[in-house]
């Protein structure tokens, strides 16, 4: 898999913004990607060095439309901790 197929999008929320102060960045990643693949992809895309990768599978939410109901897709979240001195200038300094 190429890096841009692994990293789907950064997750920018209030909670994740607070994590950035700890040098941790959150991404939605491919459900089949492993931690090492994620680490390699982040290092390749952002040119940084990754210290740790935590992942979790997020269950899809139940959505109802009248009497019909279904689920949104399950997905995988990765919290990437960068090595000291590394930083992703995704938004800052725009």
């Amino acid at each position: 898999m190429i890096p841009h197929q692994i990293i789907i999008r950064p997750l920018i929320t209030e909670k994740n913004t607070n994590l950035m102060t700890l040098n941790k960045y959150c991404f939605e990643v491919d459900r089949n990607a492993s931690k090492s693949q994620i680490k390699a992809a982040i290092e390749a895309i952002f040119n940084v060095s990754v210290a740790k990768v935590h992942t979790m599978n997020v269950r899809g939410k139940m959505k109802r439309r009248g009497r019909e109901f279904g689920y949104t897709a399950d997905w995988k979240k990765a919290i990437v901790t960068l090595a000291e001195g590394s930083r992703i200038d995704l938004f800052e300094g725009v």
């Binding site: 209030e14 913004t17 938004f91 800052e92 725009v94």
Partner: protein, 491 residues
């Protein structure tokens, strides 16, 4: 913050305010907080998104827009305090540059107008008092007698005679066209005429004398070139007339005149009094003309630099005066404008030349008051107050005091200063060769009455004292002087 000022024409000051980067950044931070509080950004509660997220979400131009007003307001206020500038109107934003360095903006502020008086002591205006001759005196005496004429219906019908009072249907035509437009279905309104040669248009007297009631008449008359009505001046006018009623005017005997006029003296003494009154009126007229002429020359020679906002404000004040007149008669100004088919803005624009003239007069006279160091003392204000109160009875005086309070003292102060200014103008205008008329002082009776309520007077005096000490009062008084100068005194 760096502030530079540049003087512009029309009493405007261009203020260039340059901000430090740090100030701009703080402003942007505040703007980001405001934006995030106002709008929801996905993933964030309201007001919780950090600046870089807001900036990314809305874009830098939006953030700059939001920050501009706040940055300008804060730094403009600081700049005014720093440079000790007192604007007299709304500032106008000229240029803004916050996206690149130097971060600066330019504001044009109207400031106090500058008035440079000419050598006002060299301006001359002669006081030319018209002579009062025997003819004027006779006319005035006859007018007194006329006031006591008694009307009596005719016992036997007869043609109109000199001295009669007529009720006439009268319509004037020039070249076959009526001079005054009217609804043809509406009947003519009767006019009352006194049949005397010097009171009627040339030809009209001759045309009506000897005519009887209900006779249709066509009278031709040539109007003088200086006739006040432009439509008829210097033209041949034909009058269609019909006498409706003839009344005899019975004049009293000359010997009865002093009694009728409630004058304690003989007819000769009344004549002497009338002559003195005529002389006084002629003198007042001459003084008024001289003052007007002096002010005209003074304003023409004075250099002014006034902001437009002051002219607009003056025009608005004039219109408000008119509107309050309408309101006093129970008519809404909007109704008047609708009936006349005019807009308030147009009226304001039309009033501007007059407003500018009034403003120039006020400013020039205000400057004259300052240059001559004219001030009014407490006793002068008290005297002026007594003169005002003299016109009212005891009960009304009390009511006036309660209602107007300090305002009355201000008016009295203005009047006192106005009188002083007039005297000084006349002295300057005549190069000291003319002694102005003394204004009549308040009578003892009025002074005693106004002293009745000692506490009230004390309050007013205290208020008056404040005014006497305040420079601001001189401005208002100059304003009153302008108004007074433009009024014709009754002969």
């Amino acid at each position: 913050m760096k502030v530079t000022t540049e003087k512009l024409p029309r009493s405007l000051l261009a203020l260039t305010i340059e901000l430090e980067r740090e100030q701009v950044e703080k402003g942007l931070d505040r703007a980001a907080r405001r934006l995030s509080q106002k709008y929801a950004i996905p993933g964030f509660r309201k007001g919780k998104a950090p600046r870089f997220i807001v900036e990314n979400y809305f874009g830098r131009p939006a953030l700059l827009d939001e920050a501009t007003d706040d940055l300008i307001n804060r730094s403009f206020r600081e700049a005014l305090e720093q440079e000790k500038i007192e604007p007299i109107g709304q500032p106008a934003l000229d240029r803004v540059q916050f996206d690149t360095e130097p971060f600066q903006f330019v504001v044009n502020i109207p400031v106090e107008p500058t008035v440079t008086l000419p050598d006002y002591r060299a301006i001359r205006a002669a006081v030319e008092i018209d002579d009062v001759n025997d003819e004027d005196l006779e006319q005035a005496m006859k007018a007194r007698l006329d006031r006591h004429a008694v009307l009596r219906d005719l016992e036997e019908p007869r043609p109109a005679q000199e001295g009669d009072q007529l009720e006439v249907e009268l319509e004037a035509f020039v070249d076959g066209q009526p001079v005054d437009e009217r609804d043809p279905d509406e009947p003519l309104r009767p006019t009352t005429l006194v049949l005397e040669p010097n009171r009627l248009a040339a030809g009209l007297f001759e045309g009506l004398v000897g005519q009887s009631i209900d006779q249709a008449l066509l009278i031709l008359s040539h109007m003088p070139e200086d006739h006040p009505n432009e439509k008829v001046a210097g033209k041949e006018v034909s009058f269609a007339a019909r006498i409706l009623k003839i009344q005899e005017r019975l004049l009293p005997d000359w010997e009865e005149l002093p009694t009728l006029e409630e004058f304690d003296g003989t007819l000769d003494e009344l004549r002497t009094k009338t002559q003195q009154e005529l002389l006084q009126a002629a003198r007042q007229n001459a003084e008024q003309k001289a003052v007007n002429s002096y002010i005209e020359q003074l304003v023409a020679q004075t250099q002014f630099d006034i902001p437009d906002v002051l002219v607009e404000r003056e025009a608005d004040r004039m219109l408000q005066e008119r509107e309050s007149e309408y309101s006093r008669y129970g008519v809404k100004p909007e109704q008047v404008y609708e009936m006349q088919g005019v807009k308030r803005e147009d009226l304001l624009a039309n009033l501007k030349p007059e407003a500018e003239q009034r403003l120039l007069n006020t400013l020039a006279l205000g400057e004259l008051v300052r240059a001559e160091e004219l001030r009014v003392e407490v006793d002068e204000i008290t005297a002026a107050l007594n003169t005002i109160l003299k016109e009212y009875d005891a009960e009304q005086r009390e009511r006036l005091r309660t209602l107007l309070g300090e305002q009355l003292a201000v008016t009295a102060g203005n009047q006192a200063l106005d009188r002083k200014l007039r005297r000084r103008i006349l002295e300057i205008a005549s190069d000291g060769s003319y002694t102005p008329l003394e204004e009549p002082e308040a009578s003892d009776e009025a002074s005693a009455a106004s002293d009745h309520d000692a506490a009230g007077v004390e309050e007013e005096e205290a208020a008056a004292e404040t005014i006497a000490e305040e420079e601001a009062a001189t401005e208002e008084a100059a304003d009153t002087a302008t108004d007074a100068a433009s009024d014709e005194r009754p002969a």
